[in-house]
Symmetry: C3
Subunit: 200 residues, 3 copies
């Protein structure tokens, strides 16, 4: 179940990367790389930093296959994807929740401090999008507008609070990801955002 | 022989990085870093991802020396390099072929799946140029115009098809790299390129 | 003492990152990430390349705490920091010296060649700022104007020359970092800079 959500999240991230790249008028290879990097970038950085090499997607080809599938879906349906915007957003939000949990888990497996685990969870969920924006020569969108990473951090803190209560792992995952998804949906509906900080 | 070609490719990549950086009016240190990163960036990312650390160029100083040589050649002959454009392009194409093969080999050494090996080969050949373009604040050129990475992928597929026939390694390398070099030369001569994908 | 200087340098780098990000009108999370990356980026890249994982800041939470402190100082005093420009510059310069020494040390611990150690020292001191500029969508400032990295290289060479004389480690560190700090101060006072290289 968790693995299935992970795959759905990966595909959703690949789709979002492919769409961004097509808006930049990149060629098919460029679009593929951006899709790939958006999908696996966060997990790759996390694995490299904690020393889990070869990195995750090199050891489980399912990720590669589903990214390729996401890529072709993006290309074939590119003129109709506007109508699917809501479904895409939902998948992306699922990805956000699942990727954060995976990052938290890997941090715990490596015996890292909760603060570092939360950093790893946030990195897993956000860094793919950051790399996508850097490759497309933009200031990463999550630094500017959406409360995206903030949700990962809140999810991470909630995870460790609930963990103290010795909840069953499945329930722990379920609650944390549902809360994160709910906050994201509300954030977009009610247009919550962080104000820009500037010096003057 | 193979090692010699690797060194030539490294130097050619360093030269290409230095030229790009000089066009951006960077200072001598900036030019050096861009030259270095263009030359070793792809191999470094590959080594980090599969866990071969310290990364390659830290263990064989010849790469460092030849990059330094390439850097000084670029600076000294910078006003004449336009006339050497054809030789530079040839060296760069040799680099493309050799770097792809090295990436494939390292993937096989790490017992990774052929698809991942092809990804590693492409990464080794392309990522240096991608980093060069990111540091110079451009959308990477290989995402936009040239069929560069596509050649790496074709080379990688050919490599695994030929490998099934139990060819001698030297012949396998020779055929694969010659085919890649030939495709690149034809691609430039006949102006083959991938069309931009866009949403509308 | 050395550890204390390292912490001061980390905080100074975090401050400098936060200020750059606030000038780009990023949101509070974006500012935090840029502060974090500026502070630990160089050491992280170094650790990844030589295979010291999990990377440094994941194993010593003091870095994280002081970066968070630097972040809040930057936000709270953001309207007054212009007046503290001199102190900030001094801290940043201390960071430059200390980070270079740490990079050199880690290289020696890994039994790498002096040239590679100097590269690691330079990387540790400079790469945080490079990442900050890439994330803010600028060509890295150290490639364009300041003689920053050049000072790291000079410091590295001096370090290995002095090391041959079998000096006590503390004295070796003290001399090297003082020379680097002195060069930086003079470079800014007397406006030393490297000329742009360009092709025409």
């Amino acid at each position: 179940m968790f693995y299935l959500l992970d795959i759905i999240g990966t595909m959703a991230f690949a789709l979002s990367g492919a769409l961004t790249a097509m808006n930049k008028k990149l060629d098919p290879f460029g679009v593929f790389i951006i899709a790939f990097v958006t999908a696996v970038g966060g997990g790759t950085l996390r694995d490299i930093m904690i020393g889990r090499t070869p990195v995750g997607w090199m050891r489980d080809l399912n990720y590669v296959y589903f990214i390729i599938a996401g890529y072709f879906i993006a290309i074939i349906f590119r003129k109709k994807l506007d109508r699917l915007r809501t479904s895409l957003f939902l998948f992306d939000t699922i990805g956000l929740g699942v990727f954060t949990l995976i990052g938290l888990e890997k941090g715990l497996d490596t015996n890292l401090h909760p603060i570092i685990c939360i950093a790893l969870g946030t990195m897993t969920a956000c860094f793919g999008g950051v790399t996508r924006d850097i490759l497309c020569n933009e200031i990463p969108v999550i630094f500017r507008r959406e409360i995206y990473a903030t949700i990962c951090i809140i999810g991470g803190i909630l995870f460790f609070i609930l963990k103290r209560w010795n909840l069953d792992n499945d329930i722990l995952y379920l609650i944390t990801s549902c809360v994160m998804i709910a906050i994201r949906l509300m954030a977009v509906k009610f247009k919550w955002y962080l104000p820009a900080l500037n010096q003057k």
